[in-house]
Each structure stands twice: as structure tokens, then as C-alpha cells.
Amino acid sequence: MGQTDFTAALLDPEKPVPEGLVDPQGRPAGKRFDVYRNNVTSSLIAALETGFPVLQKLLGESSFKTLATLFLRAHPPTSGALQRYGDAMPGFLAGFKPLASLPYLADIARLELAIRTSYHAADHHPLDPAGLDPEAMMALTPRLAPATHILTSPYPIYSIWRMNMVAGAPKPAPVSEDVLITRVNFDPTPHLLPPGGRQFAEALDGCTPIAAAIEAAMIAAPRADIAGLLTLFLSSQALTLPTEKVQ
């Protein structure tokens, strides 16, 4: 009996307990093996529940548990550190027929993964506009901070997230939504990206100066609120200058 058989039986409750595992009397270790089975399954379900609180709310506790159990058997973690566990969830949901009528779930999973990635991302010095004249500001080439993420979806994922996490938030309208996730100090926050916002962020990500990124935003959305866009990116500390690293 090697660890290959042990692992296969751990992840598949239909498989018999591997031979050679016994109780103190030398009898086959039925329920004793199940302790390990249960530890593996319940600890990974708990990790997924912590990582995907909105998915859990949308599906309900029991359906989420079923989904998590199927997921962990198909995709056990690939690292001893679980910070990224569940990064296969969007793909798994996209191909998961029983939930095909809720096609936005995969994008909600992406949003929750991005929030978690942002939480563990490297610290950064935010771009501080204080003392900069507008012209100098336009010439800067900031980057998206390590904790900043941009998501785009054909579904109202920001509104769905907010309805489940913020008391009294309105019901989502059937629109597509782009989301900006940023971190001020330690807590990642999703923001709804206004028109042109995604193109602005993508341009900065491609190392263009702010002036050119504004142009990109205006090409995509001629009526974009550029002042509002800049305020959002600066106040949410979405940007950093590439030379400034935090030790």
C-alpha cells in the first residue's frame, strides 16, 4: 500500500479502504480511515467557503458544499499554501452543467479570487498627486499597484457582489459591468468602473503616460467623466510609480 492508493481512496469515498491499514487488533481500518477522508474534505470545503463567501450566499450553504466537494475532488490544491486555492473554480463553474442557468457564477468566482489575490499582494506606495501640477501629472507613467485588479464581465458582477456583501444595496440591473479592485492599507475594495475606465487602466498597464491613457478612455467612451475617473484611481490608491518599492 503506497501513497497513490491512499490518496485515491481519500478523494473517492466509493473506493475501499486500502489494504494494510488496520486498527490495534489488526482489523481493517474502516472508520479510522474515514477520519482522514473527512479531514481532507472538510478542511478544503472550509477553505473554499472562506474564499468564496458570495458564491456560497448565491448558492446556499448546502448547494455550495456539494459544489465544493465535487470541485475539490476534481481540483485538489497544488500548493501547500492555500492563498490561491480555488483558482480553477471559474473554469470549473463555466463547464458545470447543473449550474448552466446561472452563467454569471464563474465571473463572481473570478471577482472573489481577485479580492483574495489583492489581499495577499505586495504593499505599495500609492501615487500621490499632492504638489504635482496638472501638466506634470499628465506626463507620469504610473502602473497599476500589485493589489489592483481589473475585471470585465457581461454580467452585473459588481452589483451582485455588493447586494450580497453590503446591507441595503440595490438589486442588480441586467447590464454588463467592469470592476476595479484596489487596496487601501489592508482591505481590498471592489469599485464599479465607469465608462472608459477599463481602457484607461489597460493603457496604464501597458506603460503609457496618464495623458495617453486618458485618450484611450475617451476613444472608448467619448463622454467619459475623466475627472471622476482620475479621482477614483487616485483616491482608491490603484496606482503606483514603478520606482517606488515597499520593503
Binding site: 481500518a29 479510522r32 478544503l44 500548493s79 492555500l82 489581499y119
Partner: protein, 285 residues
């Protein structure tokens, strides 16, 4: 062999397993809590709150880095990336102690998130010793190896647990972490004598003691089956066994572990005070 009982940089008083929700209270009123243990894997991100809290805590408390994901007993090679992450953490934190488990948790790149059991055989011994050599060399510091909680036995085992652990320490120069709750759990589940286990244990290799809570169940034949849950207070028979351990082996840095259904901080402080009450009179002798 190295004498780990006198070399540990952890104080021979009570510590607790650190939980982020206790950050403020712990710093304001630590009470008898003199050191902290962290699970290495929770601090393997690039930044954010976990690392900021750890940096702040390390200014006040000696820290023990306790790995739960290295899979030292795995049949396959160790995960080099994981070793590198451990090294990175130990390099910047310079912890007072570094420990891992006699267990496996990864197979063919799948991490199973549990401490799985090993047969005590010459083959396993060689493999575990090789892995510990590799880790100690890469991380650049000696490690403590923890005795496991086990729920079943292997027909392939040819030696007892203490012989196995002692031989590993002899071959690799590692120390041992004696989890007294694990001793109680394994001895109940395997029908071994816990007093005899404690008295036979090589205490001069022990750099740290763990205490935690367990759950009670029965197997399908009605035999008691204890489960190492870390989800409640240490039970009286484990305190009694700990008291005996300190009398036999001397005072050691002693950790209260509580990982599931984590209580309010004052409850942990009380558990730490109870360990201190057992350590202090022996310390004074």
C-alpha cells in the same frame, strides 16, 4: 547529539498559536503569553495584513514558525517552491524556532491539507531523514519534528514511533516537538500506554511542547477513537500527562493550540496560565 532542551530560543514558558482576530488584545494584555507560533503557510503571500501583523508582533514576541504543508513524509520529492517560500519567511523573520510534522500531505503535486500517517519502516526512515536533511540545508536552520496524532496502524510498520523519531533525530540532527495531546490521542487510538510513551521519549531532543484539544468518537467496533481537532480546551487527562511530562523531561516552551472554533483571547490566556502554573514550580527548583 545536540541538546535541544537547552538550546531553544523560545522561552520555557507558555505561548499560543497566533490568530489574526486576537492581534489588538494580545498586544494590549498578553498576560502569561510570552511567545507565539504561526503556521508558515498563512504568511506566504507577498504583503498585506498578514505580513504587517507578523512584523509588528515579532518586535514584541519570539516567534515559532510551524509548517503544516511541507509533506516531509511524502513518497515523492519535496516541493522546491514550498521550501523556497519557507526559507524566505525564515530569512526575514529569523524565528526563534522552526518545526514541521512527521506526516505527509502532498502526493503527485496534489496537496491534501491533512497530516497523513506513515508506516514506521526502514524505507520510510531513510526517506524522511533525506527530506529533513534537504530542508535543514535549504532553510539553513535546524528543525523540530512533531510526533503525529494517528487513527490507524500500518501492517508494514516494523518499529515503534519513539524508536523511529529518535533515529530520525540521530541521522539528521533535528530536534523533536513533543505534542502531548497527540501522545494522548495516538495512545488511546493505538492502545499504547501514554505514561510509558512519555517516560521513554528522548526529552533532551525536545525543543517545544504542544497542547491542544481533541474530539471523542468511537470506531465501528465501539473502541474509543480520539480525533485531534484543535477545536476546544485541553482536557484534564492531557493536563495530567503534561504535568508528568514536565516532571520527567524538565520545563519546555509550551504552546496552546486552538485552530478551529477559535475562542475569545481571554480563554487562550487562561489555558496559557494553566500551562504556566505547571511550568513555574519546576522552573523554580
Amino acid at each position: 547529539m545536540y541538546d535541544f532542551s537547552s538550546s531553544s530560543r523560545l522561552p520555557k514558558t507558555a505561548g499560543i498559536g497566533y490568530k489574526p482576530q486576537h492581534f489588538t488584545e494580545l498586544r494590549a494584555e498578553p498576560g502569561p503569553v510570552t511567545w507565539l507560533e504561526i503556521h508558515a503557510e498563512n504568511y506566504m503571500g507577498d504583503g498585506g495584513r498578514p505580513l504587517a501583523q507578523l512584523r509588528a508582533l515579532a518586535e514584541t514576541f519570539p516567534i515559532s514558525v510551524h509548517g503544516v504543508g511541507l509533506s516531509i513524509g511524502g513518497e515523492g520529492p519535496l516541493d522546491k517552491d514550498h521550501i523556497a517560500r519557507l526559507k524566505h519567511l525564515c530569512d526575514w523573520l529569523n524565528p526563534a524556532s522552526f518545526s514541521e510534522h512527521l506526516a505527509w500531505s502532498t502526493h503527485e503535486a496534489h496537496f491534501l491539507n491533512d497530516l497523513l500517517p506513515l508506516p514506521y519502516s526502514p524505507e520510510t526512515l531513510t526517506r524522511v531523514a533525506d527530506h529533513i536533511d534537504e530542508v535543514q540545508e535549504a532553510v539553513g536552520r535546524p528543525m523540530l519534528l512533531e510526533n503525529p496524532s494517528t487513527y490507524l496502524a500500518f501492517e508494514d510498520s516494523t518499529m515503534d514511533e519513539i524508536t523511529f523519531l529518535t533515529e530520525i533525530a540521530k541521522r539528521t540532527g533535528c530536534g523533536l516537538l513533543l505534542d502531548v495531546n497527540n501522545v494522548f490521542v495516538s495512545c488511546t487510538n493505538q492502545i499504547w500506554d501514554p505514561i510509558e510513551y512519555i517516560e521513554k521519549f528522548p526529552h533532551r531532543l525536545v525543543g517545544e511542547i504542544h497542547l491542544g484539544g481533541h474530539d471523542e468518537d468511537e470506531d465501528e467496533h465501539g473502541a474509543p477513537l480520539l480525533i485531534d481537532s484543535h477545536g476546544r480546551e485541553v482536557v484534564d487527562p492531557v493536563w495530567a500527562l503534561y504535568d508528568h511530562t514536565i516532571k520527567v523531561g524538565g520545563t519546555k516552551p509550551t504552546l496552546i493550540e486552538w485552530d478551529n472554533d477559535v475562542p475569545e483571547f481571554p480563554i487562550l490566556r487562561e489555558e496559557a496560565a494553566r500551562a504556566d502554573a505547571i511550568l513555574a514550580p519546576v522552573q523554580a527548583e
